[in-house]
């Protein structure tokens, strides 16, 4: 971004479409900063030396106010500021708005102090994210404890990861490579180690990695964290839809049930009891599962049980993927569903968080360390590995 070279790196790599658009604005802001700082400092310096006490400089007709000059130096910075505002607001709306329709979806769950990432086909990763180059990616993020923030400097993107509600962001990686990933919202003791790596791969390489469930073609050096889990999120959601008893009321297409059918609802406005309507997006579906009485669809009774505390964030995401597939029979999720074996019980395999597990995390936080008690716990050797991996520079 600089017209000259500096002895040290001053910016991370520019590796996404958003970064490419942001960097000119960033350089413009530095330019304005330098121009105004130099202007003010040189005026202060020149005046202070020229009019130092005892100097012979001409001090005739001093002025102590001038409305015209006040207006000039108020309005010029204001106009420059407004121009920057418009430029920055435009880019902001772009990166946080709806992604292109062909965006690849990745679901991210943050927790103290690691990232769980899941691809649509069910491939899971911890603290690592494999992505194909040149493909728009939409991240849907949620936390299962405190607030975190998901940050990839090379892509210039960051999004807070809140408990209780989804956030999202999208971008398109433009360069294959290995990039750092950080948590940037202070989240407790090991906040500084809640990081990892993003691997951007050529498309074919990625496709092989993706279709083999992360077994082949991966470039992860840590190994073992790209847990396999083929079958698809929608498939897992379908089996949850059976096992949790959703199906007994939400009968599906055709049969009238005690509850509205979920076929074709995703992304469509839902008429509500209070006369308003709401678009059935991820947030709406999450709330309707965990706290169904918050919003009742018109002409139905509020009889659905509350699932708050019964389902993990991951299970909610799987159910959402299933409902999404029902909504868009030609979409990727539906294909997955068609290809997958709905008879499986993926919940077992997916290591869904039991309440005991949650307690372990809390115990870990409070400081009762018991490395053997849970897979979430880090042994001292593990911790050392994570620390080494984190602080070392590795270029792809």
């Amino acid at each position: 971004m600089w017209p000259f070279s500096l002895p040290i790196d001053t910016m991370p790599e520019t590796a996404s479409t958003f970064a490419e658009k942001l960097d000119p604005l960033y350089a413009t802001l530095w330019l304005l900063t330098i121009v105004f700082t130099v202007l003010v400092l040189s005026l202060v310096g020149i005046f202070a030396i020229r009019y130092r006490r005892g100097s012979l400089a001409d001090r005739s007709r001093p002025v102590d106010h001038d409305t015209r000059i006040e207006l000039v130096w108020s309005i010029i910075p204001m106009l420059l500021g407004l121009a920057v505002f418009v430029w920055a607001a435009k880019l902001y709306v772009e990166v946080y708005a709806q992604p292109p329709r062909n965006a690849k979806e990745v679901f991210i769950i943050g927790k103290q102090w690691m990232w769980h990432l899941q691809h649509m086909n069910g491939v899971r990763e911890n603290n690592e994210l494999h992505l194909p180059v040149g493909q728009p990616v939409k991240l849907t993020l949620i936390s299962q404890d405190v607030i975190h923030a998901f940050y990839i400097p090379a892509f210039r993107i960051k999004r807070d990861v809140n408990p209780g509600r989804y956030t999202s962001v999208w971008f398109t990686p433009t360069k294959p490579g290995k990039y750092r990933l950080f948590c940037t919202e202070y989240c407790g003791t090991q906040h500084s180690l809640m990081g990892g790596w993003v691997y951007v791969m050529p498309r074919q390489e990625f496709q092989r990695w993706y279709e083999t469930g992360g077994a082949e073609g991966g470039v992860s050096e840590r190994g073992g964290t790209s847990a396999q889990g083929l079958g698809g999120m929608a498939v897992a959601g379908a089996s949850l839809f059976q096992s949790q008893g959703c199906v007994s009321c939400h009968a599906g297409p055709g049969g009238p049930g005690r509850a509205p059918t979920l076929v074709g609802v995703f992304g469509k406005p839902q008429p509500l009891e209070n006369g308003r309507s709401e678009i059935a997006d991820e947030g709406y579906i999450r709330e309707s599962i965990l706290n169904p009485r918050a919003q009742i669809v018109r002409s139905y009774q509020p009889i659905m049980p509350v699932y708050q505390g019964l389902l993990s964030e991951e299970q909610v995401l799987q159910l959402t993927a299933y409902i999404k597939a029902l909504g868009d029979p030609k979409g990727a999720a539906a294909k997955q569903l068609a290809a997958g074996n709905t008879g499986q019980e993926p919940a077992e395999r997916s290591g869904i968080r039991s309440s005991a597990n949650t307690q372990n995390v809390q115990a870990d936080f409070i400081g009762e360390r018991n490395p053997a008690s849970s897979q979430q716990q880090r042994s001292p050797a593990d911790t050392a590995n994570i620390q080494n991996d984190f602080i070392q520079t590795r270029r792809p």
């Binding site: 790196d9 304005l32 900063t33 003010v40 902001y92 999004r159």
Partner: protein, 557 residues
Amino acid sequence: MDVTTTEPSSARKNYLNWDHSWQSWLFTLDHKRIGILYLISISAMFFLGAVAISLVRVELATPRGDLVESETYNKLFSAHGIIMVFFFLVPSIPATLGNFLIPLMIGARDLAFPRLNLLSWYLFTIGGGFAMTAFITGGVDTGWYFYTPYSSTYSNNQVALTIIGVFIAGFSSIATGVNFIVTIHKMRAPGLTWFRLPLFIWAHYATSVIIVLGTPVVAITLLLVLLERAFRIGVFDPALGGDPILFQHMFWFYSHPAVYIMILPSMGVISELMAAFTKKRVFGYSFIAFSSIAIALLGFLVWGHHLFTTGQSMYAGMVFSVLSFLVAVPSAIKVFNWTATIYKGQVEFTAPMLYALGFIGLFTIGGLTGLFLAAMAVDIHLHDTYFIVAHFHYIMVGGALFGYLGGLHYWWPKITGRMYPEGWAKLAAGITFVGFNLTFFPQFILGQMGMPRRYHFYPEEWQALNVLSSAGASILGLGYAIPLFYFLWSLRYGKLADANPWRAVGLEWRVPSPPPAHNFDEIPIVVWEAYEFVPEDADEAEQDREAMPGVPAGGHE
């Protein structure tokens, strides 16, 4: 009382020597003595906050967290932030210089409510006591902003005690703010109209309005965190049915204006220093005065720029962003007006003036880098990185603290009756300026490289810049330590100061140094404008050879 020949000033009764008993200090109703009580308290707080961050900077000299445990590290930066924000910067200038000078500057014998003023110091001390107890008995690791649900549900250390401390100290701010507002409205000397007031008073008036409107909100917010923590009343934790983002809105509704609580009084000091050391009326008096009011009002409407990445509505974000650009304009107006004040002045490079010139440079950089963060898309990249840390230290240290140190030097002869050693003071100002830039400029680069704040471990490619920053911090520490020694030294050995050592104007310079207990034997009647300088003594004017045409003549010195 003993009167020695070496201390002729004590021959005259003043606010310091009329009674030496400890009761006369701890139960004093004199705004000047309360100012000194505050000065001692906040200096102690500053020392503690500085010790905490010194350990942090030593730790950050290596990428591996090897000096202290992560938990200790988190407690250290939290202690630094909590102490420096709530127990140093917020009270710094208003409670010390403001307390001491506002009645003197407006020709009053005290503040409107002397007992309330004393109460405010006791509240501050009690609040500080709670916070210190919390730090000693286990510490707190939430950072200074207590984000929920971490602070309300997850953190398992002394959050409650700390919050009680901050809560109580908030009432001390409110007491001071109310006192200043009433005093400035009702107790100005005859003839001292609003537009004859020193700009220091305008700045404190605007600050007091922010304190009175904003502090109750943060008090309520922290109380709610306490209730959620103690009784599991769901306000902020989604697991209890609350909303964690609500906390951020409520917290920043106070804490963004709080930035102006810290910087506006400092701007008031800078206006006084620029006038006194250019011997000229401040350029654009009314623009500077109204810009303080504009900052106070607009400052309440920009809190959402701390939430651009949280998922708040885009349209709300845009409103907060555009208002953030607008609130920068009054600050820019002040900088340009101070620069214009130097033009055709008689610049004296005293230590306070060096701090004032340093302020202009550092505040300019701090303000301009703030625009990066107001620009929504850029904030996505920079939010919660070291760029923000660098930015607000340019405002809080380069701005607020430089103003405080400049003001303390400038009014030291008035407060103590003694001059500080000028050579040492200039040296300290220079060291502080160099150390400051070396500490914080590298952090801009670290931030734009992507280094998140509050990191115990960091990638090793960032070590060089961190080492530079830590080295700068040790120089900065030296710059802070030197004044401590020479100020104490000057109490006994400093040259005696006359009533007006700087040949400045302003009512505070028309009473003896140190002032008598009741300030004015006779309440002055003001018939002149603010900063109306007259030619200095005839012989000095001759030495200068350069006459000063255009400067209104007429004696009120």
